[in-house]
Symmetry: C2
Subunit: 341 residues, 2 copies
């Protein structure tokens, strides 16, 4: 009798950082590496960074007694829109020069492993579904609140990809027709109101319109030093303008979530990204708005909660993506971690 | 050798009319009955109307040589929110006195047949998917434009029910934060802008604000006689205000569809209900808006088309619901209508 473990490498290719994890089929993180994406240095450099990072966790795994044979595949979450089945990243808005890159081919050439590609936001949603805030919840929506607003939708335990692999672009839901200009060129998108950069922009706009706040003193009138975190911290300290901005942000997000609850009716909405760490300051107005505006029947029992996996969500989700492709996630409950040979 | 046909009764329970169809497994409509719902006369009366209507198509079917044994089940589309699996209509907003009615139990007591209940908008979406505009399209969204704005979502060939059987409430997507008051109590819902009653309301509002239109002459200043159809007809004749109202309605609908395309990314959006008969007058501005505002990658290949089944969609979809439950729809392609015994 011999113990056989099954392990997967999960990589999250972000605009700033690459995170690689070596994860067992049962969700135990065995090794981790994080390094810079170096997107500005070109595609070749970034691919080399991915390879170095993945090899680093392989090495660390070996030191922990994980044999190369036990590693079944490499999963990677990359910027969208992409075609997961074809392995191609069509456009990477925040990493220049990646148009129509077949990342799967590039990586399969380097590792003697099958490689599976998933959109990064979908991967993060899968990660939270597998090991995070959404454990056991088969119908959930993840909304990431960062420089942009991203999203991943899971229905019946499967990622909703849609007809063109672009489902989940929740940040570009129009919530105020004719409203603020969004980076995508439209007006009134959720992202233009509820991303961390939108919070900063709305705050700076209010200051320029003459609204009073202690923020101006805190940044010594250098408005470019205002961050989303600073706005939330200052709101927590009782500053009137910041409290108002934070309250409004909750309401804008509430509109987006109300629309999701009425349309898709998930069991859970998970908020991730830096802003989700603001706790009650963010969640209270969001929950209040949704409770007051979504259909009562749709809203019953819908939980709105913070993400649990932090920056690791994408890499963990990339592992979950592999395990799902291999039909191994369903098996966890039916047989034990160790196989008898 | 004996021919065995399989047939299903499909019923659409609407606020005004009940439509019953006898439909073969292959989608041939053998018999039809339509009669008043008579909701104001109480639940008992309406249930009796359903029974009379279903028995009518049974009788007509018999006259066409359809034996009672060939009828495998009765499917019914009813007003939501409901719990299709439990057979219970929780609330019927437009038929009084129906709170928590177990319609399946009521009908199974009357017919010697299994009865299956589905939400009416979902049933209409299923109908269009099976035999209408969405034939062969497994990812589609149906939006019905009537007194209200309803919706049904089909993903991977299955109705999206969501956690509480309330998915698809597209009419209550907020498209203009703080906008017009909706019947649901919220402000800025799609329904408050793009339903047929909203079109009338917005037109009357404009006239009362002093805008000039030939409509006032056409209805001899009786503004209560203005209908949605009249607004569209008058727009077609070149009236400036009506043209503007119609154009704006297309844009509002365009916002809703843009949000659906970016979030769910279906292959097709079908517009049903009376207003969808307006043709290019409605579809041109809708398609233009979505093309200009939805993500290019998401929008590629998305068709926005009118519904094909008219008022029969719900009853046909109720039949499709039964056939899906019985796993009979998949079989259509693999074996012929006639079984050899």
């Amino acid at each position: 009798m011999k113990k056989i473990s099954i392990n997967v490498i999960g990589v999250d290719l972000g605009a700033t950082n690459i995170i690689s994890l070596l994860v067992s089929k049962d969700g135990e993180v065995v090794a981790r590496d994080a390094r810079k994406t170096m997107g500005a240095k070109g595609k070749k450099k970034t691919i080399s960074q991915i390879i170095i990072s993945a090899k680093d966790v392989l090495k660390k795994g070996e030191e922990e007694g994980i044999s190369a044979e036990s590693i079944m595949a490499l999963g990677i979450g990359g910027p969208g829109p992409l075609n997961g089945d074809g392995g191609v990243i069509h456009v990477a808005p925040n990493i220049p020069g990646w148009t129509n890159t077949n990342l799967v081919e590039e990586l399969e050439g380097e590792f003697d492993l099958p490689v599976y590609l998933e959109n990064d936001a979908n991967a993060a949603a899968l990660g939270e579904w597998w090991l995070g805030a959404g454990r056991g919840i088969d119908n959930l929506v993840l909304i990431t609140l960062g420089t942009g607003v991203g999203g991943g939708i899971i229905i019946g335990g499967e990622v909703l990809h849609g007809a063109r692999h672009t489902a989940g672009e929740i940040g570009h839901m129009i919530i105020r027709e004719g409203g603020l200009l969004c980076g995508c060129g439209n007006h009134g998108c959720l992202e233009a109101y509820a991303s961390s950069s939108a919070v900063v922009k709305r705050t700076v706009g209010a200051i320029k319109r003459g609204e009073k706040t202690v923020l101006t003193d805190l940044v010594k009138n250098k408005l470019e030093d205002i961050t989303c975190k600073l706005v939330y911290d200052t709101a927590r300290d009782g500053d009137k303008l910041c409290k108002q901005i934070v309250e409004e942000t909750g309401e804008y997000l509430g509109i987006g979530i109300t629309n999701i609850v009425n349309t898709i009716n998930p069991e859970m909405v998970i908020l991730g990204g830096g802003m989700a760490k603001a706790g009650d300051l963010l969640f209270k107005p969001v929950r209040k708005y949704v409770k007051e505006h979504a259909f009562t029947a749709a809203m019953k029992g819908v939980k709105i909660v913070p993400a649990a996996l932090g920056v690791n969500a994408g890499a963990i989700g990339a592992v979950a993506h592999v395990l799902k492709k291999k039909d191994l996630l369903k098996m966890i409950e039916s047989f034990d971690t160790d196989l008898i040979n």
